[in-house]
């Protein structure tokens, strides 16, 4: 999870605020359609999976997102 959050901070180019697992990441000012692409690219690189947008839409927080990824890896 920590590793994922570090990568998440890197690809979203977050520099001036903390990132916590309970954060609703779409509320970040860095979040836009390009950030979405970067997040997808990160997940594809790290876990070799792609996730449909409809499933992304069902998660709110970084923690939930990480759980979704983990559920795909089982």
């Amino acid at each position: 999870m920590d590793n994922f959050i570090n990568k998440f901070i890197e690809v979203l180019e977050i520099e001036d605020h903390e990132v916590n697992p309970e954060d609703k990441y779409r509320d970040y000012e860095e979040w836009d359609s390009l950030a979405f692409l970067s997040l997808q690219a990160l997940i594809n690189d790290e876990y070799e999976i792609t996730i449909p947008r409809s499933e992304f839409d069902n998660v709110q927080t970084i923690k939930e997102l990480y759980s979704l990824i983990e559920s795909k890896l089982k």
């Binding site: 359609s33 390009l34 979405f36 692409l37 970067s38 997808q40 690219a41 594809n44 690189d45 792609t50 996730i51 449909p52 947008r53 992304f56």
Partner: protein
């Protein structure tokens, strides 16, 4: 051995343009510098109200066909998703407007970002089968006419353009083998839902659009997932089928979707940066025209020289994908 070759290609861009700064004025939350840096687009050309895809197709064809071509072109393929009419085919009108012979074939193909490679595969097949010896392949798209005025994402990405390519019979096989693919389960990921004859308007088969159902809808994230899942294998399969490796290819030209996606795919496939062409700064994503525009730019700039091997890779709406290797 009968083969085919691309003997010339040209493109046409409509006069009106929209810059990133103009988009930023319309949508203050948009960052023009970020669009240029990440998406790789500075401006996009937009067809005039009274200029159709067919009009642009006629203009670009007139730029390349000579009197000799007029008497020797014996097939016309017109690739567009912005047809002039439900019927007849635009290709038939092109035949007449360009003053081509009557004893020739003409047909339209309705494909987007994979359309140019599919057009080449048809031209190559027609030539090898002896049905034609010189094919005019025209791509032309006016997605701007499909996009909702408030749809800032699609307004940013897409531009209008037309291209014309002559493919002719050749002693040497200059257009190599093709890899083609289709996955219609993703038909609703990039779609204009209304305006044609679909009667099965059950909401469940469509994804909800923020804008009008008469306008272009794109599920960008799912299209990106599709490219991540499909394009690396497409490139490998095309190399394998033609018994080449990445080292044998002088230039890789992918459908110019956007700079971020192209760079991501390049790294994933491990194509050296110097072999990979990215240039959509002044055109945007022109759908079926990005590949021939890039090809022409590479030829004009000396990036591709005689006997260069070039891989062309198209992917998008359908979902549909195609790749081949051409020698110039």
């Amino acid at each position: 051995m009968i083969g085919s070759k691309i003997s010339k290609t040209h493109y046409y861009l409509p006069g009106k343009t929209i810059s990133n700064e103009e988009l930023e004025q319309l949508f203050p939350e948009w960052d023009s510098a970020k669009i240029e840096d990440k998406v790789g687009i500075r401006k996009r050309h937009i067809a005039a109200k009274n200029e159709s895809a067919l009009d642009m197709g006629i203009k670009v064809s007139q730029r390349i066909i000579t009197d000799e071509d007029k008497s020797s072109i014996n097939f016309v393929i017109f690739c567009t998703q912005s047809p002039e009419y439900f019927l007849p085919s635009g290709a038939c009108i092109l035949q007449h407007q360009l003053g081509l012979r009557n004893d020739i074939g003409a047909l339209d193909i309705n494909l987007g970002c994979s359309g140019y490679v599919y057009g080449l595969s048809l031209a190559d097949g027609l030539i090898k089968a002896g049905h034609a010896s010189k094919v005019l392949l025209v791509t032309s798209e006016t997605y701007s006419k499909h996009i909702h005025p408030q749809d800032k994402s699609n307004l940013t990405i897409f531009g209008d353009a037309a291209t014309a390519t002559i493919i002719e019979k050749s002693e040497k096989e200059m257009i190599h083998k093709f890899v083609l693919g289709t996955d219609g389960s993703g038909f609703n990921k990039l779609i204009v839902k209304k305006g044609a004859f679909n009667v099965n308007n059950e909401d469940k088969i469509y994804e909800s659009s923020e804008f009008s159902d008469e306008c272009l809808y794109m599920n960008g994230p799912d299209i990106f997932s599709f490219t991540m899942d499909t394009v690396p294998k497409l490139v490998t399969d095309c190399l394998d089928k033609n018994k080449f490796t990445i080292d044998d290819i002088d230039k890789f030209i992918f459908h110019q979707a956007n700079k971020y996606i192209l760079n991501y795919l390049r790294k994933k496939i491990k194509i050296p940066e110097e072999k990979f062409y990215i240039n959509l700064y002044d055109t945007g994503n022109t759908v079926s025209s990005t590949l021939p525009i890039a090809l022409k730019q590479c030829l004009d700039d000396g990036i591709i020289k005689k006997e260069s091997k070039v891989m062309l890779v198209g992917f998008g709406v359908g979902l549909s994908w195609a790749a081949t290797i051409v020698e110039i």
